[in-house]
Symmetry: C2
Subunit: 144 residues, 2 copies
DNA sequence: GTAGTTGCAAATCATTTGCAGTAAT
DNA sequence: ATTACTGCAAATGATTTGCAACTAC
């Protein structure tokens, strides 16, 4: 069993919550799916295999995954909350197409250093950060 | 009349829209209020003086203000959309204290240049950007 | 056996929209 | 006059919640 799954079980146990089939299924699907899916997209994927899975269960489970640090909730332009698996790596940032919604993730040490410098200038201790660039991808530029 | 109000009138005229009392009232209130109010907060403020103003009118007008560049829509953690007056200056970013919520706005040409470079690398046309740093201000560091 | 969970449907909450009456051009 | 605008109420869409049946512990 992957360490992430173990981590989830431990979290549930520690909080007197139960390890249910649905929770494991949702975590599996989340881990093996592309990043930045919404609860709805996850639900639709799961539904094909487990037709009587409830919508609310997906929401509730994703909230748990966010609480225990396995997933991070993100809000890009549209209304839906999207989920991203936490890798425990460096900070990464997002470049999002306003046209088709395509998302590119990137990292950049230089940017990171400058951000640290800004925080230091104001004597702030940096804890987390959010950087999103919005624009048009090449394909959507061609279309407009 | 302020140049912003003039700019709004011009925008409306150019688009065959009408300059109504409600639109002017909402713009006035928006300009003279603290930044980052939601449509609801704006509506509540206006309502005390103009009790039969409609909720939808505030939403529709804020959308117009965003379209013509006078206001920018922002989403901080909560569900509501918040509006910020555009100063016409450079992009500015936010440094937010997780402890007391204090917000410092800053600009940084070097960061801006790097962001442009990232977009260019992926052949994206940059349209807008969001950069938020979260941490603890000196005062809140001392307290914790 | 006793919590905590699930699936469903109904409820919320922010925002949008249809419409009949009203106001700006 | 014409066309857009307003206020209201009803609609929407994402997410949440109440609840009775169910399942992990």
């Amino acid at each position: 069993m992957s360490s992430v799954k173990k981590r989830f079980r431990d979290y549930l146990t520690r909080h007197n919550l139960k390890t249910t089939r649905q929770r494991e299924l949702i975590l599996d699907e989340f881990l093996s799916s592309p990043s930045h899916l919404s609860a709805e997209e996850l639900y639709l994927r799961l539904r094909t295999e487990y037709p009587n899975l409830g919508y609310a269960t997906v929401y509730r489970t994703m909230k748990l995954l966010a609480e225990c640090g396995i997933a991070t909730e993100r809000h890009f332009g549209d209304r839906q909350t999207r989920y991203e698996a936490n890798t425990g790596e460096e900070h990464h940032y997002h470049l999002i197409c306003d046209g088709c919604g395509h998302i590119i993730e990137f990292e950049d040490g230089q940017i990171e250093a400058l951000l640290q410098a800004v925080a230091a200038t104001h004597s702030y201790t940096l804890r987390h950060q959010r950087l999103e660039l919005y624009g048009l991808c090449p394909k959507c530029q061609a279309e407009s």
